[in-house]
């Protein structure tokens, strides 16, 4: 390993660089050369960037100090370990039905817990490490896009360390009705980080629905990067359910490119985790592209959750709809930061963004920062934000019908959060997420 350093290294990146140089977490020696280079590039980049500070606009609402001070390094994969415990974790989380399910345990595909089943010709679903071996060109194209954005140091770290993930590749003209389920589990046996990298690619006119669930026990850092590529007229519904442990750090980044007349519907339901950041960056690359980014977060005790969205309209006739709802109780902190950019010449863009939040109790905090940046003159763009408390008039109304105070409060909180969930088209998926939401609210500590 090279001990000669010709680039500056931020002190907090040092332990990760050392781990990289020791060759930890790399998926075997047979890795292709382009991959080794891409990992090295990512590592160098992260070493230069280090952790983002709160002066960095897109990280200002998140406290990463504890993670920065106590590194959580990646460890080598241990296939097959902890599967029994994982089965128990999986039990309540599963989406009812018989659709394909791919489980990633401690950052690595777990075949014994998965059920891929028969998929139509033209559909490829499997682990990232297998895609690298079998579908090298497909993965390489995405991996080689340099993770150079200074706002995304962890994407660079992810490029260096990712062990596995999933790849869903659907050829043109194929519609999958049943949702595809991806479950990321952390067994919580010793503190470490899991870096997963995934790719979803839909060919022209194809459509699919996926649910990505993240859950775990104990202390860990999950650093997840997902790339989505939608060809013309493709339609992807992607729901994310986050139920990480109270000690977990969950940093997830979605980076999507939407082609002409294609539609990306992203939904994020953040229900648990010590520190959770869900970022979605969508490039509206084809005319007539449509993007829905909806979401909801619930935080209590000392939890932190951030939803960060970034939609870039590069061409005319695009549509964006965002509805993000947040609830914070206890001493928790939630935040929404959403930016919509309309580039010069991207006329007739229609974009609407709404962030609505509910604070329970005097010690919780919610920040909301919707932002429009418009360089075209013929567009329809609007945004709105509110932070409020439970509606006392509605609470009184419920109580005059005999509903006890605590139950009435729950009904109002749940009613507030249901709206974006009800936008989900697939009925089984919608009901599943509503059940998880109700279960979370039953344990809410106000």
């Amino acid at each position: 390993m090279s001990a000669v350093l010709d680039f500056p290294v931020k002190p907090e990146a040092r332990p990760y660089l050392d781990a990289f140089d020791k060759g930890l977490s790399r998926n075997g020696d047979a890795a292709p050369r382009w991959l080794a280079q891409s990992r090295r590039r990512g590592m160098t980049r992260f070493a230069e960037l280090g952790f983002p500070t709160r002066r960095s606009e897109s990280w200002r609402y998140l406290d990463l100090q504890p993670l920065q001070q106590k590194p959580l390094l990646p460890a080598g994969p241990e296939p097959g370990k902890h599967e029994t415990a994982a089965r128990t974790q999986l039990a309540g989380l599963e989406l009812p039905g018989h659709g394909p399910r791919l489980v990633i345990l401690d950052g690595v595909f777990a075949p014994a817990l998965s059920r891929i089943g028969d998929l139509p010709t033209g559909v490829w679903l499997g682990a990232t490490h297998r895609a690298i071996a079998e579908r090298e060109d497909l993965f390489r194209e995405v991996a080689e896009e340099t993770p150079g954005d200074p706002a995304h140091p962890f994407a660079a770290l992810n490029a260096a360390f990712f062990a596995d993930g999933f790849v869903l590749d659907i050829g043109p003209g194929i519609g999958l009705d049943e949702p595809i389920e991806i479950v990321h589990l952390a067994s919580g046996n010793d503190p470490r980080s899991y870096h997963t990298r995934s790719l979803v690619r839909l060919g022209e006119g194809s459509r699919a629905t996926i649910l990505e669930t993240y859950a775990g026990e104990g202390r860990y850092w999950r650093n997840d990067v997902v790339a989505v590529r939608l060809a013309a007229r493709a339609a992807l519904n992607r729901a994310v359910l986050v139920e990480e442990s109270a000690e977990a750090v969950h940093l997830a980044e979605l980076e999507a490119t939407v082609g002409a007349d294609a539609r990306f519907s992203g939904f994020a339901l953040l229900l648990g985790g010590g520190t959770v950041r869900h970022e979605a960056s969508v490039r509206m690359a084809g005319e007539g592209a449509e993007c829905h980014l909806d979401g909801a977060f619930v935080v209590d005790r000392t939890e932190e959750a951030n939803i960060v969205t970034n939609v870039d309209h590069q061409v005319p006739h695009g549509t964006t709809r965002e509805l993000i709802k947040g609830v914070a109780a206890g001493r928790a902190h939630g935040a929404f930061q959403g930016k919509i950019t309309v580039r010069e010449g991207a006329q007739k863009v229609d974009a609407h963004q709404l962030s609505r939040n509910l604070i329970l109790g005097g010690r919780a905090v919610i920040d909301t920062k919707p932002e429009l940046e418009i360089y075209a003159d013929d567009v329809k763009c609007a945004h709105g934000a509110s932070v409020g408390e439970l509606d006392e008039a509605a609470l009184f109304y419920l109580r005059t019908r005999g509903i006890p105070d605590a139950e009435a409060r729950h009904m109002l909180i749940e009613g507030f959060l249901r709206e974006p969930v009800e936008e989900i088209a697939d009925p089984a998926l919608r009901e599943h997420l509503l059940r998880r939401l109700a279960r979370r609210l039953a344990k809410l500590e106000e």
Partner: protein, 255 residues
């Protein structure tokens, strides 16, 4: 059933609204409380239901032998007190059926009765729906959200029909209704008259009393009951107005 004695109440800002109200309502009776705007009608309803923002400074209210003010608003409801709101509240995201089942089950739990599951509840609802002209889709929507004024008032009476209170207080249930909606609401109220139930209708106009005939009528003015009588009092008021107070056009009275 309900004994109000020398009730004084003021708003949080110190304004005294009720200045010694006396009223006695027996089981099976229907009473109407009439009065001009600002006479204290809605305050009386709010104080009986337990709304925040009012302070009772003097007097007592006994409901079925118990001190009403010793019970929180939700407990009063579980004990059988029902308030039909002048301005029913919209509750986005809370399904009407789900809400009403939660309410009925809260009362059933309180009485030590088994809760109703969705199927059993639906049977209760279907039966009560016959009483009122309510479209099925109203039940599947969020509570009062996007309802017309008439639909909201009908929904109040429908809730009353499902919850079967012992004491129902209808606060200006007739206001803002066209004649057809008024007939439907009146039919609902008449259908709920029962020997073990008392109904107190608060109204500005005599119109409702043409459809729901009260046993007693009281005139509330400046925080006192100034006159009580049988149903013939309504006709008298129609002729002479509310005493020295000139009839004023109806404005939104704060509840």
């Amino acid at each position: 059933m309900l004994e109000i004695k020398n009730l004084h109440a003021r708003l949080d800002d110190g304004r005294e609204i009720l200045k010694g109200v006396d009223l006695s309502v027996a089981e099976g009776e229907v009473h109407a409380i009439m009065g001009p705007n600002g006479s204290g009608k809605s305050t009386l309803a709010a104080v009986l239901a337990g709304r925040d923002g009012y302070e009772v400074t003097e007097g007592s209210v006994t409901y079925r032998g118990r001190d009403l003010f010793a019970m929180a608003a939700d407990e009063r409801a579980r004990e059988g007190v029902f308030l039909a709101f002048q301005y029913p509240v919209e509750i986005p995201g809370v399904n009407n059926m789900y809400f009403l089942r939660a309410a009925l089950n809260a009362q059933r739990r309180h009485r030590g009765e088994p809760e109703l599951d969705a199927g059993q509840f639906l049977r209760v609802v279907r039966e009560r729906l016959k009483l009122l002209d309510i479209a099925d889709d109203l039940l599947q929507r969020a509570v009062n959200v996007g309802f017309s004024g008439g639909e909201k008032k009908r929904n109040e009476i429908f809730q009353m029909a499902v919850l079967e209170p012992r004491l129902a207080i209808l606060d200006e249930t007739d206001s803002g209704l066209d004649i057809d909606a008024l007939r439907v609401v009146a039919r609902g109220v008449n259908g709920l008259r029962a020997t073990d139930r008392a109904i107190v209708m608060i109204t500005h106009y005599k119109r409702l009393l043409d459809y729901v005939e009260p046993d007693r009528i009281h005139v509330l003015q400046d925080g006192h009951i100034v006159q009580s009588g049988d149903k013939s009092l309504a006709a008298e008021l129609e002729r002479s107005g509310y005493g020295t107070f000139a009839e004023t056009p109806e404005t939104a009275e704060t509840a």
